[in-house]
């Protein structure tokens, strides 16, 4: 058999197929992402708070406690379980679709690719939302809360300190400023991919007849 006579599914096509799936089933994507957003947001909040506190005390490094990191890790493990669960649901909901694309020529590898690329995007989007919101909440918490608690000249003073901290934090250390959200996003993509391997594998191995017989 010649090379011509072999099914193709370029990665670019797999990407656009996965993106369409996410876009047009955004509700389901949000459910899958909910746990990721919460977990990463919590982590990002802790890291940012730790960093701000360290800057305030003129220390380098971070003021996060070890137990807080452990809490974040546990939160993220729970979010991994959440992803496995909703990816399995999404595979089940799409049995017919999987059977159909197998009839149209998709090989197991192509189905695996579609689901893993979807997981990648869910991790990326969920991670970004989580990281930015956690960072934002931490910043508001650290800067605005003291402001609201103070009155009169004390408030002005707090405002000056906040502004100085903000400059120091964001301008003098842009890498550190960026690194926490980036760590959050990378971790999120990694977890989304790991948690989707088993569901994606199940989808890929489905026989077309089994998949088509399934009534949603």
């Amino acid at each position: 058999m010649s090379r011509e006579e072999s099914v193709k599914f370029p990665v670019s096509e797999a990407f656009s197929f996965s993106l369409e799936s996410i876009k047009r089933r955004f509700g389901r994507a949000l459910v899958t992402m909910a746990s990721i957003i919460l977990g990463i947001s919590f982590l990002s909040f802790l890291l940012t708070t730790g960093r701000i506190m360290a800057v305030m005390r003129q220390q380098s490094g971070t003021a996060v406690q070890a137990y807080q990191i452990w809490m974040a890790i546990i939160a993220i493990l729970i979010c991994a379980v959440g992803i496995v669960n909703s990816m399995l649901m999404s595979v089940t909901e799409r049995y017919k679709e999987i059977g159909t694309i197998k009839c149209l020529g998709a090989r197991n590898r192509h189905v695996l690719e579609i689901f893993l690329i979807e997981a990648f995007f869910l991790g990326l989007i969920g991670g970004a939302i989580g990281a930015v919101s956690g960072w934002g909440i931490a910043a508001l918490w650290q800067y605005l809360l003291p402001l609201m608690m103070q009155q009169g000249s004390a408030q002005t003073e707090a405002l000056v300190i906040a502004a100085r901290l903000w400059l120091e934090f964001n301008v003098n250390e842009p890498l550190i400023f960026l690194s926490n959200p980036l760590i959050g996003i990378a971790l999120s993509v990694f977890i989304a991919l790991i948690s989707s391997i088993v569901p994606a594998y199940i989808a890929a191995k489905l026989s077309p007849t089994e998949a088509l017989r399934y009534e949603a």
Binding site: M1, E20, S21, E97, G99, K102, L104, G105, P208
Partner: protein
């Protein structure tokens, strides 16, 4: 010049048994048939007689317990995973009772999909998808999603998708099963027209007796066995008697 075999499909003692604990269900039990190129064939039989099982075996979707299927004189049991995927993508078009369009894709994108798998170049595949959808009467509905189309329209998209790669065979499993009488007739006539126009072999599992009028031959299936094979004329004669 491409070689043309006389038979698009041949089966030899084809059987599929399902072992369910102590019971063995003989869904297909020794079916040997030859189906000619560009023939319109209906597979008739009561519920549970093995029509869908036959569809799955001939379509390379499931492995038989016993016997062989030849498509274009190639024993499909000898194909590896790559070749089997190619067979499904290029040589066979599938039409289902439940339409089975990809819900998140538009009519156009659904029809494009099989050509992505066979590697048709981008502009060409858009041209062919548009032409095929126009051919089935949906030229104005290219960007509609399945949920925005009626049952009959969805089945037209499915037929366009099944035919767009110029397959040797179109396998249809109760294509009118979810449609009302009138729409069902339209789909039957569309399949018949495409069969004549494109010389594509159509194998149609159905218990819709309207199908007899357009079929070249009818296989009557019962309990996994071929009960009899008749031409349309023979059915008509029998009906008069």
């Amino acid at each position: 010049m491409v070689m043309r075999y006389e038979y698009a499909v041949e089966t030899e003692d084809l059987a599929k048994y399902y072992i369910m604990g102590p019971v063995t269900v003989k869904a297909l039990d020794g079916v040997s048939v030859k189906i000619r190129r560009s023939e319109y064939l209906s597979l008739m039989g009561p519920s549970g007689s093995g029509k869908t099982t036959f569809f799955n075996m001939v379509g390379g979707l499931d492995r038989p317990t016993r016997g062989k299927v030849f498509i274009d004189e190639v024993d499909i049991a000898s194909l590896d995973a790559y070749e089997l995927a190619w067979l499904r993508a290029k040589k066979i078009g599938y039409v289902f009772q439940t339409f089975n369009l990809i819900p998140v894709l538009t009519a156009m994108e659904n029809v494009l999909l099989p050509m992505i798998f066979t590697g048709v170049e981008r502009d060409e595949r858009i041209r062919r998808a548009r032409e095929m959808l126009t051919r089935v009467g949906l030229g104005e509905r290219l960007d509609h999603k399945p949920g925005e189309l009626s049952g009959g329209q969805q089945q037209r998209v499915a037929i366009a998708r099944a035919l767009v790669n110029d397959p040797v065979i179109v396998l249809a499993d109760e294509p009118t099963g979810n449609l009302d009488l009138h729409t069902g007739l339209e789909i039957i006539n569309l399949l018949k027209t495409l069969n004549t126009e494109k010389k594509v072999t159509i194998i149609n599992a159905t218990h819709d007796l309207k199908m007899i009028d357009v079929s070249d031959r009818i296989f009557w299936l019962r309990d996994g066995k071929i009960e009899r094979i008749e031409t349309r004329a023979e059915v008509a004669v029998r009906e008069v008697e």
